[in-house]
Symmetry: none
Subunit: 142 residues, 2 copies
DNA sequence: TTTCGAATTGAAAACCATTCGCAATTGCCC
DNA sequence: GGGCAATTGCGAATGGTTTTCAATTCGAAA
């Protein structure tokens, strides 16, 4: 991992008064090391850490994400008690839903452009917009 | 339960070629008996049936909701990939999801403009796009 | 370097919405 | 009314996420 990312991550933790352990710095670097906002699940962050060779146990990822939330570094988005996302910034998150098989996968967000949204009802504000793109297997063009 | 609701429910099923069993009529009546649109989860519908004394097993509620979807009577709305709601309004329209309470309601479709979408992966094509707008209670401006 | 509370770990357990297995029941057609 | 496939119901199983636990390791302050 790049030194600058580690430094960014470490600063981010120290600023929030979170003890910068090796695991936390690893995760922090993944989250904000390059200055981009991220939208992760515990699982995806766990895989990302493992993928770059800085393995961190899943339990630690959960502990750490919770600690970051408590420190105000992240925001948790709970989906009805069952699944959580952690955001450095909430934004639109598209998913592909494969009708053939019922699987759900992340979709790239770059090409999603929402040019207009209904107004939020009185007393509410829009937290995020979830877009599910339903896919069907293409009929092989004959 | 009112006779008219039962009749409405039965008609709704017959129109779609779904065999009107006692359990299905019970659920159908709860869903569209009064002509209003509904957004339910399997659990909430299960409770509603039990609450009026027409108990239906939870497994049957799931089976029935799926059968209704396949018959085109309902539309399934997935919130963030982890929870399913069923909407009696089968027209294509966006939804509001109230984080505070987990309720799902219809959103007006006129103001929703999607100007760009991710490309469908190889071998697949886009069947439809579901939009769920997550709402949170607005922090009352001082 | 020593020390102690905090952090980490892997495994197991808890959780939950949903589905499955299968025997019993029901609806529908003749 | 009889037959048969569809439907139902219960409980157990599933799949996936999150939490707990006890033991170990670590960080940082003295």
């Amino acid at each position: 991992m790049l030194q600058t990312k580690i430094e960014n991550g470490t600063r981010w933790l120290e600023k929030a008064g979170v003890r910068p352990t090796r695991q936390r710095v690893t995760l922090a670097s993944l989250l904000i090391g390059d200055g981009q906002h991220r939208h992760v699940t515990a699982e995806s962050l766990f895989e990302a850490a493992k993928g770059q060779g800085d393995a961190v146990s899943l339990a630690t990822v959960y502990n750490t994400l919770r600690a970051f939330c408590e420190a105000g570094l992240l925001q948790e988005v709970t989906v009805d008690g069952s699944k959580s996302y952690f955001d450095t910034n909430t934004h639109d998150h598209p998913h592909f839903y494969w009708e053939d098989g019922g699987k759900l996968t992340d979709a790239p967000s770059e090409q999603l452009i929402i040019a207009g949204l209904p107004d939020a009802p009185e007393g509410a504000e829009i937290a995020s917009v979830d877009v599910v793109i339903r896919l069907r297997r293409k009929a092989e063009a004959g």
